[in-house]
Chain length 461, copies 2
């Protein structure tokens, strides 16, 4: 984006004002034109997208002012039966498909990073607009892809990458474009929410609920991306980039998953009037002494009071909280995953992009002008729930309390419970720095009195 | 929007394909250009909008790729002191202001219908884009205004007209443009929600809570538009038009306000595990025998179970539920009124429209191609809570029950409570048609046994 002070005289629409400026808007193909579509991927989402493009063809034609025509469908395995797809459309050569002259819009619903990166980059450089649901791709390569989109003057839309049908990308890019967003916090992974919600309501173990989630289709055969928080981390990176007009990649997101959440942790949460949720937290921070702003994006399980709206997000639903200076607090809630909800988000983008292809123009591109620094995770402040097993003798509490105060961590509540041959000590802190809490925990582990630190879970909301 | 079947060959971008088709793509003023802004109205929202345009000028310049320059501010009373506004900008001649050559974008935050209608139409016909917060204007004159916007190829945006900062117009126009929306239900008026919420939680009367709302600034000196449901009805008309791609005006919305809600009604709701909310309901209906679709938009107070998410919308907050075929259920929640939240929505639109002015193109215009018929209110089905005072003697219940069954209204629960010299009878029906319930109530009123029908409130959710 050009700084207007440098160039106040109107420029002809086609001129380029710099390497990263949009190359000027493209006039459209014209009212009534046909938009050639390439669909990459025929999994759950891809097949639903294709089915609905056909089922809703008249509505879409009316809404776009032009007609969508799927001209190629790229799949991995050509031998697999594909009922409902014209075999003429199928190809296993996605690269050639996106290079075709008669393709205007590419829908990428393959997933993964490296192969989609190559295909999407080729498509954008070739002047095709792209609609994707691929959070991992955007979180990792938004910079390169946005640059390609800007240079060709085409759209790169990805509403479906975050919280499926719940509009979050659109509102952050558009409705909140006149505001100052200070925080985004949410439950953005359906698999982990299903597991934690079931653990809370049914007292079951993590392993049991992971097995059930897998049976029900809420978890993949390899659930790592979900349970270790990487899926949520990709979404946090995207949300933070949009909210703070700053490039935040998946690597910038401190990520902790839910593998270590135990039945005891859930019980401890209940005792504290809370539940445990895997949260994606994006925050704008201001250094009180210097006034410097920085941003943070992180994913970890946290205790949330049961009275908090996020606490009531059940099963595989998602919810996103946004806090903005003028708007105040907003919340969006709905289905964060699944063929129908994801297809809904993809198709909303397809209609918008197709409108631009027909009538001319582009939607908002990437906006990273603020370029705020990423805060060091050690400086992040929050509250902690620390659960320890200690020996039961005189002076233990004092030793433990000293370990906290030596690192500047102030205690809010302490609960001690006798157990066989020892005691369980549960401590809730006031707000403290990550680095100081981390040092405290390391210190506690060295104490003879402390048999084990069973869990350290943050508290939010 | 042209039906693509009529015109499949690409048309040159500038050609017009019919009276109601967009006039073709307008190239932008060019990256870095200045966008001349006229602000109409300096009330709570207008003054906040002006303040923020100045405070956020650098951010907006980066986000737009061009600079906003407020070139005129129209007010009613020039003599009134306006701290923070350059007096050179003030005028009381809004009409001349919007006709100026150097004005590209008009922000209308005056309110009212007739005068804004004239000004906004003039602006649109003169090729200026318009951003408005005026729900009554859009609900009444969307047809004429959209036509003017289409003919000039400019934007008419109104996110701020419905639920202030909560993005609803944007999601219905964009994210859900690929889906089929079947229902929209919400609490969209902060004044009435504040009053009803306070009546529920504090057992106070309507009159008491209206007085408090007025003191606190949640109600105007003349609260008619809010308490009689007209404000909600305008919003319902806008939501229904967007959801069903059909023109629904304020006049098409069956509207009932909250003036008659009594402390007894609130108590009866509590006894039924419910609360009372003023709801805006937009619904797509399908005639089971013919398959014909029609649409309904209505506003009335209704009992909602306390377990329903809308029941927990407190004070002056708003929430909107959307049900779409692929997306499933979505909910949006936040501040539905106030200077900051409304300004946030106005400015989101200003940035989007300014981007189009600078870079070329338009956002989605009005889409009413579906042209579904408005269902007759008498055919709408819902459940009813009917509260009567009856004489306490043999056969009364039978008479009352007969009145219901004679009109095909089936009873779900009946509760009788002795009161001095009579009895109170509270009946909850199964789903029934409005016309049949209305006939039942008229019939009940003719019965000697029925002293009075104290209230008839619908039940939703």
């Amino acid at each position: 984006m050009t700084n207007a002070a440098q160039s106040t005289a109107p420029q002809p629409a086609e001129s380029s004002s710099g390497a990263s400026a949009p190359s000027g808007f493209k006039p459209g193909k014209g009212a009534g034109a046909t938009v050639g579509v390439a669909l990459l991927g025929m999994g759950t989402v891809g097949s639903e997208v294709l089915r609905l493009i056909n089922e809703r063809s008249e509505e879409f034609a009316s809404r776009i002012g032009g007609r969508l025509e799927v001209r190629g469908v790229a799949v991995g395995d050509l031998s697999k039966p594909r009922p409902g797809v014209d075999r003429e459309l199928l190809t296993d050569d996605a690269l050639s498909l996106v290079k075709r002259e008669d393709i205007d819009l590419v829908i990428e619903v393959i997933g993964g990073i490296d192969f989609p990166r190559q295909i999407v980059t080729t498509a954008l450089r070739g002047g095709k607009s792209v609609v994707t649901a691929n959070k991992a791709l955007i979180a990792a390569h938004a910079d390169e892809l946005s640059e390609a989109a800007d240079e060709s003057g085409v759209d790169l839309f990805f509403e479906a990458a975050v919280a499926a049908a719940i509009p979050v990308v659109g509102p952050l890019r558009r409705s909140l474009a006149g505001d100052k967003v200070n925080a985004v916090m949410g439950i953005v992974n359906g698999t982990t929410n299903f597991i934690l919600d079931a653990m809370y309501h049914r007292g079951a173990s993590y392993a049991e609920m992971l097995a059930e989630a897998t049976e029900l289709g809420y978890a993949e055969a390899d659930p790592t991306a979900d349970v270790d928080g990487y899926d949520a981390a990709s979404k946090a990176a995207i949300l933070a980039s949009l909210a703070f007009h700053t490039r935040v990649s998946g690597d910038d997101v401190h990520t902790e998953g839910i593998r270590d959440i135990s039945v005891d942790d859930i019980d401890a949460a209940k005792a504290a009037g809370s539940t445990i949720k895997l949260l994606a937290i994006c925050e704008r921070l201001v250094d009180e002494s210097t006034g410097t702003e920085s941003v943070s994006a992180r994913v970890y399980p946290a205790l949330i009071p049961t009275t908090h709206p996020l606490a009531s997000v059940s099963e595989s639903y998602n919810a996103v909280f946004v806090e903005a200076e003028s708007a105040g607090r907003l919340m969006f809630y709905g289905n964060g995953a699944g063929g129908g909800p994801t297809a809904s988000a993809v198709l909303g983008d397809v209609v918008a992009v197709a409108r631009n292809i027909v009538h001319g123009g582009r939607g908002p591109g990437e906006s990273t002008y603020a370029s705020l620094p990423i805060a060091d995770f050690g400086d992040i402040q929050t509250r902690y729930h620390v659960d320890m097993e200690v020996v039961d003798r005189v002076g233990v509490l004092a030793e433990v309390a000293n370990a906290f105060s030596a690192h500047n961590v102030s205690l809010k509540t302490v609960r001690q419970q006798g157990i066989e041959d020892g005691a369980r000590l549960v401590v809730i802190t006031h707000r403290a720095k990550e680095s100081e809490l981390k040092a405290t925990v390391e210190s506690l582990k060295t104490l003879d009195e402390v048999r084990s630190v069973r869990s350290v879970i943050r508290m939010e909301g």
